[in-house]
Amino acid sequence: MILNTEHIAKSFGRNKVLKNISFQLKAGSITGIVGENGSGKSVLMDIIVGARSADRGIINRNGKIGYCPQRALLFPHLTVQEHFIYFAIAYGIGRDQLKRRSEELLLHFNYRKYKQEKIINLSGGTQQKLNLSIALLHEPDLLILDEPYNGFDWDTYQMFWNYTNHLKKQGCAILIVTHLLSEKERLDRIYKLENGILI
């Protein structure tokens, strides 16, 4: 198993956001978690990636994690290329892998021309491409995507799914969290987060 969660619970004051969440992700699978706005999807993602602690429960992660947050979390005054360098240091990947992967992602998502552009000058869609590319830079074993296609145009949306299928074939476990899932046939399993539990 790439990810195993057991009996995860999280409350904010009296509001029990997550009550008893248990699920597993295996290599080479795409899993979706859907839920209404405010159902606790992002809180669950934060707990899985380690940005937030759970009140109760166990999480076992095996392998490298790639996390694409809902909002493009980028440095407004750095360029696209500088982001790749900065995050490559965080991931601990070497110069050769950085060069190969950044070029691959820039070409695949068709934004190579913005390589030297500062984030503050990019459109929301291009920022979202970089947001996703950072999660993919170190070739993760588990890819966690929180509302990944916000701001994508149709072509980018297709590119996103092509790339996701390519990763699946390579054995990557993918978790997509969204409030709106239009292409259910692309996913191996779908959970619904409702009243703090997965259905």
């Binding site: 909002r71 750095l78 900065y86 995050f87």
Partner: protein
Amino acid sequence: MILRMLIRQKIVIILLLIIPVFFLTIVEFTTSERMLPFQLASLDEDVFINISEKGISFIFFAVASSGFLVSFLALNLIQKNNAVNRRLIICGYHPIELMISILLALILVIVLIAIYIGLLTNAFYTIDHLSRFILGLVLIGFVYGSYGLLVGSLIKMELEGVLMIVLLVNIDVGWLQNPLFYAEAQNQIIIKFLPAYFPSQTAIITAVTDYSASTSILNSLLYGFVFLSFSMLIFFYKMRTK
């Protein structure tokens, strides 16, 4: 990267260029050359300093602008990209590595601002011991930079953070530490406990006298390290992965 991000912000460059020049120009046009003998709190009671109103005002306003600028930039360094820094940590960066990067950037900013304001002040009014005066500006930068880091690590919202800085800088450096006000102030003990007391004393002693400022320097460092330690502990606690 942290320093690069800082200097690419237009507001940072504008503030750096405008604030010290504006403060010192105001002093130039509003103060007189009359001599004002006064006692300095951290020197012996029988020591009187003879300096013109213009001279002491230049020194005092140089200290104030240095404190304000460094404090604001420190807040900017720690608070501005909080969510992205957190993402970096999730991706594998250690919070201590990030803290060290921020601190190194801040130290460089403190030294550069102190040199810039020191030289600028000297252009308006000849400082007797310029290099020692710049040391005083480095100390106010260190104390108020550490205060800026503390505010930034405690307060999430930018506006509230800026308000906290402006409030303390205004009351402390901008008003109570003015030696002319201090000499006549009631309850001087309160003023002595404020963060700018020791760095202000250092800056004035080093700029216009030959007396040793070692006690003020040590106390300034101590004050700065207390702020710094608290800010780093809070930053580490908030940024660590769970």
